[in-house]
């Protein structure tokens, strides 16, 4: 199996799915000849031409609106929003149109599309090149939400999303784009949506996380094992909606302690939902409060981005707090 980074894996998924299904069409700012500002669509314009890879004017509502039209027509658009921070001009089209199309038409119209967009911090991007908007979309019925943490999942989940019959928000943790490398299966490769992965087994505390934070939790778990003697189990959710409740529950039943980690702001973030659901379903198994290590409830800062992010220190402290409760 070839080794790739996430950008290459995304590119591979796009290419493979475009070869497989000629209804798959890419559109977005700078995605054509230029290959995207992160180079995720590099070479696709050359291979598939201007009828499959469309450079667009600078208007996210136009990109998503056009994609909805394409989906209604029967194509499988994969629009790119250059940064997740810039998805809001299209918010109305996403939450009032794409997400409700199937339901409101009584199932007559489907709206299969994958909105790919880089998210998250750690690249010195400040307020507007670092946001993690997943909670907005998880709260909106009618969407699926996906966030991979490594190259092979990126390929498999993106392929699955493209084949899925629903509008999917596909969030790519941009600080991993080149940082996360790994083996990626060649050719068609699909990772089923809705299935989490236990990326580290352990007995004392369960960490539920996703995206770039998976890596931070792995490091923190290593340290916690070595220095604090805490055995941590880590679940990479991969699909945030619908998320894999079974995998989480099995782990929580075992450990009785839970820590949820994500980059997005804490208040009403996805961690809140996970915590509330575990409270409903597993209260008697909890040996300590469910802790959340997340971005703070402030706009994503520039100078203090490493303090803002759920870093190793904050994770280890929370693990200790959980164990010592």
């Amino acid at each position: 199996m070839p080794t790739m980074n996430i950008i290459q894996a995304v590119n591979d998924a796009l290419r493979t799915e475009m070869r497989r299904d000629d209804r798959v069409v890419i559109l977005g700012q700078d995605v054509g000849k230029f290959g995207g500002v992160f180079r995720a669509t590099q070479g696709l314009f050359e291979e598939f031409g201007p009828n499959r890879v469309l450079d667009t004017p600078l208007a996210e509502a136009g990109i998503i609106g056009s994609a909805i039209g394409m989906a209604l027509y029967g194509l499988r658009p994969v629009p790119e929003i250059q940064f997740a921070d810039f998805i809001y001009p299209a918010f109305d089209q996403i939450v009032n149109e794409a997400s409700k199309m199937r339901y409101r038409s009584g199932g007559q119209y489907a709206c299969p599309m994958v909105i790919r967009t880089p998210c998250g911090g750690g690249i010195r991007g400040g307020h507007y090149h670092s946001q993690s908007p997943e909670a907005y979309f998880i709260h909106t019925p009618g969407l699926k939400v996906v966030m991979p943490s490594n190259p092979s999942d990126a390929k498999g989940l993106l392929s699955a999303s493209i084949r899925d019959d629903n509008p999917v928000i596909f969030l790519e943790p941009k600080r991993l784009y080149r940082a996360a490398r790994g083996e990626v299966p060649e050719g068609e490769y699909v990772v089923e949506l809705g299935k989490a992965k236990v990326v580290r087994e352990g007995d004392d505390v369960t960490i539920v996380t996703y995206g770039a934070v998976v890596h931070t939790t792995l490091q923190a778990a290593e340290k916690a094992a070595q220095e604090d003697g805490i055995s941590v189990e880590i679940i990479d959710l991969r699909t945030l909606l619908p998320y894999d409740i079974d995998t989480i529950l099995i782990s929580v039943m075992k450990t009785g302690r839970v820590l949820i980690a994500h980059e997005a702001a804490k208040m009403c973030g996805f961690g809140a939902e996970l915590s509330a659901t575990l409270n409903e379903k597993a209260l008697l198994h909890l040996q300590a409060p469910i802790l959340r290590v997340t971005g703070f409830d402030i706009p994503f800062p520039y100078t203090f981005e490493h303090e803002y992010l759920p870093n190793e220190k904050r994770l280890r402290k929370a693990l200790q707090d959980s164990i010592n409760f």
């Binding site: 069409v25 208007a59 136009g62 194509l75 149109e97 199937r102 409101r104």
Partner: protein, 366 residues
């Protein structure tokens, strides 16, 4: 496209000097008249129904029938219609049944959208008629997208999208028409400029000289037509459709018309506009005008008209009678179609609801 306001049929039912009536065979002419009249009578009847509390809401198109039906008539079956909320006439012309329409008003078990939306928010994929939503202007970008898809696939399908002059103020109008201009999509943007957006008059929407002139901002064709003249509307739309099929890109059509009725059953227009203005526009009624023409040409007569009125009345009555007694959809449908398959959390929520309903049934029995 011509400059200035296009008009073929004058308010008095006579043909404007120097203009030619488009060639439409008499059968079609009478069909058009029938659909216009049906549209008008349905609007009237359902408004009464709402007042009687039998439906929750209604929004009609009295006065705008020519703009809606004349333009839809310029399409072929393979073309798409992406409606705003007043395009019942276009749906009826396409073959949407009155019964289906009534089921949607009641949100009953035979409503093809399963009772999920307010009255007037139907959809018909079979007829390539879009799913209606309430947010003003939201449909315009995806009308561009459908056109773009058709162009990419090399079919010669056109897309006709409707909206009011109020919608032109939204960002969605702008991005949609701009994209259409860049990609030369086969999209016809039909603005029903009915002079009002609820209580906001046309002058407060925009300082531009006309709506049609906005085409210049996107490098596309723009034309202004008397929206109460079915021939004028048909002609300019037909021309736009032809251009679209030839790959010559989109057209913005401003159909100058007037909302004779209230914005919807929730509105009382006397609070914001003068009766005189309304009376002035009543003299330009698209239906009267067309009828006068048809009579003058010998295609139509008062007797036939009386008969048609009766026929339509019965048709509406029958559709209502049949649809009103149908009960609501099954409660399960509430959790379907959110996603293509029902995910675990919605299964749980359906279970929760069922348990509550069972409990309730038990308690009521006790």
């Amino acid at each position: 496209m011509p400059e200035g306001l296009v008009r073929i049929l004058r308010p008095d039912g006579k043909v404007e000097k120097g203009q030619k009536v488009p060639s439409i065979n008499p059968k079609d002419l009478i069909h058009l008249y029938r659909v216009m009249l049906l549209n008008r009578r349905v609007d009237e009847r359902m408004t009464t129904l709402q007042r009687q509390g039998r439906i929750g809401f209604y929004i009609g198109s009295v006065g705008e029938e020519a703009a809606i039906i004349g333009s839809a008539f310029a399409l072929e079956e393979k073309d798409w219609i992406i409606p705003c909320y007043r395009e019942l006439g276009a749906a009826l012309l396409r073959g949407f049944s009155l019964f289906e329409f009534c089921c949607q008003l009641f949100g009953n078990a035979q409503d093809s959208i399963k009772g999920r939306q307010m009255p007037n928010h139907y959809a018909s994929a079979k007829l390539r008629f879009g799913s209606i939503s309430s947010p003003v202007g939201n449909q315009i970008p995806y009308a561009t997208g459908i056109g773009l898809a058709a162009r990419l696939r090399g079919t010669a399908e056109a897309v006709l999208v409707y909206f009011g002059e109020g919608a032109t103020s939204e960002g969605d109008f702008h991005v949609a028409v701009n994209f259409a201009g860049v990609y030369k999509t086969p999209t016809i943007f039909l603005c029903r400029n009915n002079q009002w957006a609820i209580s906001m008059p046309r002058e407060l929407q925009t300082a531009s000289k006309s709506i049609a002139i906005k085409a210049k901002a996107y490098g596309i064709e723009g034309v202004q037509v008397d929206g109460n003249d079915i021939f004028g509307v048909y002609s300019v739309t037909r021309e736009a459709v032809d251009r679209a099929r030839r790959g010559e890109g989109p057209t913005l059509i401003e159909a100058v018309t007037y909302r004779l009725g209230a914005h919807s059953t929730s509105d009382d227009p006397r609070a914001y506009r003068d009766d005189e203005e309304v009376e002035g526009w009543k003299e330009k009624d698209p239906l009267c005008r067309f009828k006068l023409y048809l009579m003058a040409e010998g295609h139509w007569g008062e007797e036939k008209d009386a008969y048609l009125e009766e026929e339509i009345k019965n048709e509406i009555q029958a559709a209502l009678k049949k649809s009103e007694r149908i009960g609501p959809p099954s409660i399960d449908t509430m959790f379907e179609d959110v996603l293509d398959r029902v995910p675990w959390h919605l299964k749980e929520q359906l279970e929760e609801l069922r348990r509550v309903q069972e409990l309730d049934a038990v308690q009521q029995e006790a």
